[in-house]
């Protein structure tokens, strides 16, 4: 469980994280999405106490990270930037981390096996490939058998096999009842693993929602219909749960709450000729782009619709 309240980080003039409020719950994979520079890494660094918030608070399992007696048991974090000494072997690195908490050597061997590093565990970490380095970071994150696992851009630079491995790992960790918090700037990747999404842009919360709600509020089930008699068609289609929008003088209507098939049948019943009838499918990627583009264009205003409210 991670709870952020009005979490803010300023670097001089620049506000990297702007009054973020969110809760990351156990048992699911929560995706932390945003374009590069949205403040994701800074937020994660504040969660594990590497950066101090300018204002606001963030707690892990009810307490600030630094106040836990065994921090590695609360949160295991893989940060984006490399956090190892290249001259030390993978085993020695993990062992040094383990000593601080009294974690037995047995557990070090376990995470090495879990991440498939057995053959390179005694080699200098500086010689590791990107994928191996990432696995070592994940081994370190899992070392304390943490209740919360937090990974910053874990699939960056990984080959397809590595990506698949991470995906399975994440869903497995969530299935254990752990809190899993994963950042990415790739919506497509998040769509495959995350249930819940926290979307940020320019340090601000844009959406706190589920994957399905995001698509819906982004207009995922909108049907575009064009007709000679838009006003009459509007009357014909009106009903509970149906929303119709369209510009005055335009022949085009955007309908939500009805399928293209239902609209076609009803128009035919009333003898209204249609020129166009198309279901507009919005991909998650598109929904994400729309959200974050708004964040850039209307930065600092409140016109950004937060789907979180609708959810």
């Amino acid at each position: 469980m991670i709870e952020a309240q009005q979490l803010t980080k300023r670097y001089g003039e620049k506000t990297a994280v702007d009054r973020l409020d969110f809760v990351v719950k156990p048992g699911t994979v929560t995706g932390f999405l945003g374009p590069n520079g949205a403040g994701k890494s800074t937020t994660m660094r504040m969660i594990v106490g590497l950066d101090a918030p300018t204002s606001g608070t963030v707690t892990v399992n009810g307490r600030p990270y630094a106040e836990h007696v065994a921090p590695l048991q609360e949160v295991g974090a893989l940060l984006e930037a490399k956090s190892i000494h290249p001259g030390r072997s993978a085993f020695d690195h993990l062992m040094a981390q383990a000593y601080t908490h009294g974690i037995p050597r047995r557990r070090v061997d376990e995470v090495i096996e879990l991440t498939g590093l057995q053959s390179v565990a005694k080699k200098r970490a500086g010689a590791f490939s990107l994928g191996m380095g990432q696995r070592l970071g994940i081994a370190a994150a899992l070392l304390g058998d943490p209740a919360t696992v937090m990974l910053d851009e874990p699939v960056n630079g990984l080959d397809p096999e590595g990506v698949l491995w991470i995906r399975n790992l994440l869903t497995g960790l969530a299935a254990d009842g752990r809190t899993v918090f994963v950042s990415s700037h790739l919506m497509s990747e998040m769509a495959l693993v995350a249930d819940h999404l926290i979307i940020v842009g320019r340090g601000r919360l844009l959406a706190d929602t589920t994957v399905r709600d995001l698509v819906r509020t982004a207009g995922g089930d909108t049907v575009t219909v064009a007709s000679e008699q838009p006003a009459r068609l509007r009357e014909v289609l009106a009903g509970p749960g149906v929303e119709i929008t369209g510009e005055v003088g335009s022949e085009e209507l955007h309908v939500t709450g009805l399928t293209a098939r239902a609209i076609g049948i009803r128009a035919a019943e009333h003898g209204i000729p249609l020129f166009e009838l198309s279901a507009r499918t919005v991909s998650l990627e598109q929904a994400f782009m729309d959200l974050t583009r708004d964040a850039v264009e209307y930065h600092g205003t409140t016109t950004v619709e937060t789907p979180g409210r609708a959810a």
């Binding site: 630094a66 030390r88 040094a96 370190a140 869903t171 969530a174 299935a175």
Partner: protein, 281 residues
Amino acid sequence: MSTVTEIDSAAPAAVRPARPPYKVTGRRVLRSEWAKLWSLRSTWITLGLGLLFLIAFGLIAAAHYKSSYDGGHLRPDDANSTALDISLFGTNFAQLALGVLGVLVTAGEYSTGMIRSTLAAVPRRLPVLWSKAAVFGVVALGVSLVGVFVAFPIVSGIVSGTPAALSFSHAGVARSLLGAGLYLGLVGVIGTALGAWLRSVAGGISVLVASLMLVPGLIELLPSSWQDNISPYLPSNAGQAMFALTHDSTTLSPGAGLLVFLAWTALALGGAAYRLVKTDA
């Protein structure tokens, strides 16, 4: 996606099995820093160099003194040398090796990014600084003591029968050798503190070299009345007072030298602690 949702609803409260009683303690942080120090090749190389400097340079200086004396052309500078001075000739070089390694112990974590792992494991931070300083200080002290206590008897043997001859039982010799070891150990601690304070290998080494080697030279540019008041309290001069066999009015006593040098060490550690706690990693 659907399978995950099912699992989500099946395990709502996230009840997890009893967890092992892990806990961060001061002793464990020390253990971790000890393991970190010895798991890097640079530690072994640099400590080896420090030891080599201490012993080999003492022996070379002794051989040089002996041959000069035998040849009858002893330099005036060497006329008052004792076996102790000669055996501690390598101290100047060893302090560089140990000080630089001290800087690497802390600043190296910043340059590599290791500090993020370190502080994630020990988010209270200060135990890391104390542990690093203690572990490296003790190691530097140990290596230095081995070096000076190996070098002195050999040097003493080489220069026996010359005016520099001095035996271990001579008053003050044991105290001076211990003082030299303690000085080098504290130089190591100052190195770790400077590395943590400046968070830069180059910066830490520069300040270390400047304060131990360059500042005494610059002080000579000051009016002489100032010099006399300031000079004995400089880190290098206070440190040398710790292991000098004879003391005059311009130098501190060994005890006072130790106190002044400890104060410098405390200052460096204080600066390092302040920055470690106050600024983002």
